[in-house]
Subunit: 281 residues, 4 copies
């Protein structure tokens, strides 16, 4: 045999779950997308077609719904813990289990000024994320945000960079800064309140974005990451991925008009992409 | 020639515009996607390749940005009027001009409890729409909503329908009702305040959805449309398109568990699709 | 009541079907997405919540699969006919039934130079469409193509158009012409061979696109439509929707380089949009 | 300062390029999407807002087009090499440069049985990928495939797996196997002919998929990876990611009909996900 098996994982992705909890007439809802993966001793599966070690991904799916009946699904980190512990117990062939949960927002509809008991309207595309991984030795927790779109109309400059033969970008002291925050942070230990920890990191990043006098996306990224680490003691590090979505100043001078940072063309591609990890000292 | 030219239209689609208006330190923003189309006497263009009557779509694009400098872009119906009037003036070959504008939501970031002056976070995917069409005789206005996702966890039943050989759906007095509202309504005359009219229709539809004891999507649709017509005198008719996005009760009985409308599987396809027009008497 | 019910329709959308037909070891496959809609006397459903006239959309879904077992699913027009006839028979409340079918392409994998018996690779995103509608008086057939992307690197010009204050586009005798064909044509009578008719229209449009010396998208559109009408006697009219996807010449002169129509930036938005109907005389 | 900077990278993503090469009347086209990223000593950028070390991502974009004029863009690995070498030369602050190139397929339109000189139709969504990374010490090459959809209607079984309380999946000796191949393989050294190496890996994977008697996705994955390694001596390892897209047998027994693997429901979510690396011994 000229080839051997390297790292493997298998599981079920995009298991969609909606959970209703009734507190009298007041209904609470959670809509989640769950991914489950196992890692382990799966040599015979891959090489010999022997499925004796395989917990089917269909069973993983069923299990997600059964666990959602018997255990809380929020905070999502706790539901992730329920799942990884179950799956490691369900098969001794697995050395590790990983669960990724995305929470999709539903806000209560306001009726006559009051949030309604059982009717909801979709929030933004932003998703709260939880990543729980377990080995036989214990669990690890990370959390994150995906698709949090933010924009500021001033307090962003970009100057003093390298110029070469292919430079055409003018330096600017005032531009639009638009990005879609993807962040993932690791907890050195499970915080006492996962919801509060998430909210604190989110607020720290948003307020830093808003207040920062940005000299570059890179500088703002580091400030946001530092603020996140400052906000929650259990955050050991945070990885931020910030596309720079360009809002181009439309050239109105050709029509004898001035454009004092008033009229822009939002663009999707190409985009800058700035990524860095900020680590607690 | 075995063929003749029927109805035609041409224009520019997906012109993306971002407009900043500064009120001192307070910045107001609008992000729009604009589609422009002309109709008219374009026989020679299609049959002979004679472009003398063609206002290029590239010029339409430039014009959108120029008009956004010189005229308000909100309410979007007013910007649509600016555009259709301009385009009919720009080419006598056009008999009609149509503009479709989608407004994408940006909310202010809250910093220390206060909405920020110049920093914003993306709202939901919901889009406010304006449709303005003009002929040499005048303008017509419609408005709409796209991708307004709503869900209620009770007060929705479905019973008493036709049963045949292929029926498997059980009747239910309590199900989840989830839909994505697409609505478009015509104004018999321009309302005095387009923003207020839009808000009134939106609120009427949301509150009706929340409060209605639904016997079918069809019945709720009619109630929502009626509420919209009641809310704004200038609304002459409204077309609603309501997909029925099925949230399926997961079968936990196989595992010896009860599922008292607690655990559901959200699905995207297939979906029901209920469409109707409600007309003012 | 201030409002009355206007036009309505309801049904099931995005019913996904995969059908295997075995000819010994040789397997034939069809992957379809089916939309079903009924129109009729549904006043009581909408106004009173009386579902006695409602054939549930869930039953429509079941029926699609049952009919796919008992009847051929290709040509898709014939399957559409099976479905509309069934649904009109299933409920006397319906005045009309409409079915829309999209066929997704699978090509055989070539193994050792030979097309494989039961293994397939996905084709392009192009979809063959069928639209069958029925009333109590009979059926009507249309067919179409969606997402047929084509491009030519020369033999496309655009000159002689209107110039005004907002014109910046230079005239050109040689540009890239890239579009995504959406076409829908009506048959005055069912052709003897739906597959052959579809193939003839598709070939006529592709060959015309390739061979045409284009003075505008409008002119090429009319030529393609005329070719389709010439190709199949039963085609009574055809509607074409051709976005003009701009491939922009990148300005290399700033770097002291020439760009002799060699280096382009493909763009998605904004795009021109040219639409017209060509009608058999 | 409580935080320090960890790993960083920055660059430009989704730079879309279309290149035409004319061989007399015969035109050759390439449509690429290019991502560029640099890694290096960017401490001052992130912490102090000092941009002296920053080659702007806008310049990266310009450079891609300029290099596409002066150098071949195919094979895409060679274009990647051109780019990484340029960027390392353009800034001594970078320790490493990475380029990712996706090639989008255009096939010639057949006119009267002959492939046309300058007119093209889009191929499938499958994309050929190249990944070139460079440090001051040299370059590394990987290649890959994205979105290669394949399906087989038989010769796929799944039996002998773990059963537990949550198992509902029946064992089967004959099911549909549908996946979307994502593969990425590393070259230990640049092959003499990148195009031939790519084609050999692709053919090996497709023919293995078609011919394999599959006892699990895992087993077929390993067979495909092994075939790739067998096919090209420079392939040192290959990572495969194979979603198991379930085509569910529709339950026709409820209607008194048999379903002998004839009528299926294609689904998108949830899906299995099987991933593994196969390594040359």
């Amino acid at each position: 045999m000229p080839a051997r098996l390297g790292a493997t994982n298998y599981g079920k992705s995009r298991v969609r779950l909606f959970r209703v909890v009734r507190d009298g007439a007041r209904h609470h809802v959670a809509e989640l997308t769950v991914d489950v993966a196992l890692e382990g001793a799966y040599q015979a599966v891959h090489l010999e077609g022997d499925n004796a070690a395989v917990l089917p991904t269909d069973t993983m799916r069923n299990t997600v719904y059964a666990m959602a009946k018997e255990h809380p699904v929020t905070p999502i980190e706790a539901f992730g813990r329920t799942l990884v512990r179950h799956f490691l117990g369900a098969t001794h062939h697995a050395d590790g289990a990983r669960v990724r949960i995305a929470a999709h927002g539903w806000d209560r509809i306001t009726v006559g000024g009051t949030p309604h008991d059982h009717s909801f309207v979709r929030g933004s595309a932003e998703r709260r994320m939880a990543y729980v991984s377990a080995t036989r030795g214990g669990e690890r927790y990370s959390a994150g945000i995906e698709d949090l779109e933010v924009l500021k109309t001033t307090r962003s400059s970009f100057e003093g960079y390298i110029k070469d033969r292919f430079t055409t970008l003018p330096e600017t002291r005032d531009r639009i800064f638009s990005t879609v925050v993807s962040a993932r942070w690791a907890y050195s230990a499970a915080p006492a309140d996962f919801d509060a920890a998430f909210a604190a990191v989110r607020t720290a990043m948003l307020e830093t974005f808003a207040g920062h006098d940005s000299k570059s996306v890179q500088q703002t990224l580091f400030a946001m990451g530092t603020a996140a680490i400052d906000a929650v003691p259990e955050v050991s590090e945070i990885r931020l991925s910030l596309p720079n979505r360009h809002y181009l100043l439309f050239d109105l001078a050709r029509f004898g008009m001035e454009n004092a940072n008033e009229v822009f063309v939002p663009t999707s591609e190409p985009h800058g992409l700035i990524e860095a990890t900020v680590v607690r000292e």
